[in-house]
Assembly symmetry: C2
Amino acid sequence: MCAQTTATGSAGHAPALTGVFPIAPTPFHDDESIDLDGQDRVIDYLIDAGVDGICILANYAEQFALTDEEREQLQRRILRRVDGRVPVIVTTSHYGTAIAAERSRRAQDEGAAMVMIMPPYHGATLRVGEGGLVDYFHAIASAIDIPIMIQDAPMSGTPLSAAFLARLAQEIPHVQYVKVESANAAAKLRQLIALAGENLPGPFDGEESITLIPDLEAGATGTMPSAAIPDVLGGIVRDWLAGEHDRATETWEYWLPMIHYENRQCNLRATKVLMKEGGIIASDRCRAPFGQLDPHLAAGIVAHARRRDALILRWAR
Amino acid sequence: MCAQTTATGSAGHAPALTGVFPIAPTPFHDDESIDLDGQDRVIDYLIDAGVDGICILANYAEQFALTDEEREQLQRRILRRVDGRVPVIVTTSHYGTAIAAERSRRAQDEGAAMVMIMPPYHGATLRVGEGGLVDYFHAIASAIDIPIMIQDAPMSGTPLSAAFLARLAQEIPHVQYVKVESANAAAKLRQLIALAGENLPGPFDGEESITLIPDLEAGATGTMPSAAIPDVLGGIVRDWLAGEHDRATETWEYWLPMIHYENRQCNLRATKVLMKEGGIIASDRCRAPFGQLDPHLAAGIVAHARRRDALILRWAR
């Protein structure tokens, strides 16, 4: 334990990142090729929205529908566009240990502040037990100097208990953040924080901030939502951490119907529809077979945003 | 319908491929880098074993632990080594439609005789419904001229009914082969063959040939096993198709304890252990986190092969 440890800082590490770290969507043209100029505008919008950092190449960036080369192209382009204005978290998940480590190393070398990684998985049947997971994260950690955020999400099909996550945080100094977006997130975060203590300076909420206030009550210090209302969600986290719990709760509840509509009806498609409506990107295309949002739901999410005068509809106008 | 249609040929197409099409493993050095010289020897061994064709980049080739670049490197190397001696089936599965189509096109351009594709999936949660699957396979078919084999395997987490597979074979002329390795394979193959008729010239058995005789009885005309005993399995299929059912059954039952041991205890690791024991490859390494075979089981599979004097232990000696 070193003397500089702060409320949100880990022993021997820089103070932990807190606040809002939205996932930048990957914009495509109507022919599904990557829209790099649109990507630049997405980044500028997020930074103007006052985000504390940006996450790229996550599932909400359709990483599952990108080639390796496209990942690298996007990583380079975005890190160059951000140019140090905010920290960037790069998702480097891959089933293969060495490939995930190599991706993480490359992200670090190009300027990433952190990597986010799910437990390794492939399809419906390939999963890894706890011993193998310790080896996996150890191997990645040994390739980098920046922190790791473990993403605890249903996509991986890998149950991660609070006790096991705390063990990873204790055994692997790089594991400083966990984003919990599995079921009963608040209860899990509370248990994880109690077990991991200062080994886990960054317990994060995720999943479009659909459980944000219960998760902040449980001790979360950051959230990783979509890019739909990052200004709002950043304000909520900052208010909460400053002790303004009533104001944070009131704001969240005002926006909750829209977040709920996004989370349950739209998925990652919501942000693209809103960004197109707001003129940030030219197409709301998602790559096949993921497909487009039903037009009724697209109108629905836009109506939610318009009723609340969301920045995403105004920023580029 | 054209006049040249044969028992195993589809209307308007070349006679269908029958027999044994083992999956070539991807050999790694002990440091997990690809062993290209070992890959060449794997190919030569398979061709000397009298296979009817070779499948590459499938799950038994650890495709889930390869980068895009490594896939291309292996594809080029293997197709060059095969040099037209036998047809090569390239697995080109990817969640993204356009990426799977592009991979398939490239495989064709480099000499593949066929592509094998699973329904698109990612992790535990991303799956595609029947309408989306029709679009997916249509899009891939429109990029190539060679046939498609649909792989019906648990890995994809996507139930494919016999009726739906028959519909795909009817609607998409490229879909000429289905490899069934889901539960109750024989019953499914029988139903599929009845429904699809001449639209499906290539109903295939898979999964290490662990259900080969029941599947041949149901009408399968080919098998896609591991590379452990391709000479034996090719002989069984050829005997069966020549009407020598008793001899085929007797041979299969003689080898069944070994196939069963491979299927239930060893997985893709069995072939690598046997190839190392037989001097075809220098290392039986599988990439982490998949990991190595328990030494007791490795000794067990070698004992099975030795007791039956398997070619894989003799070919390189």
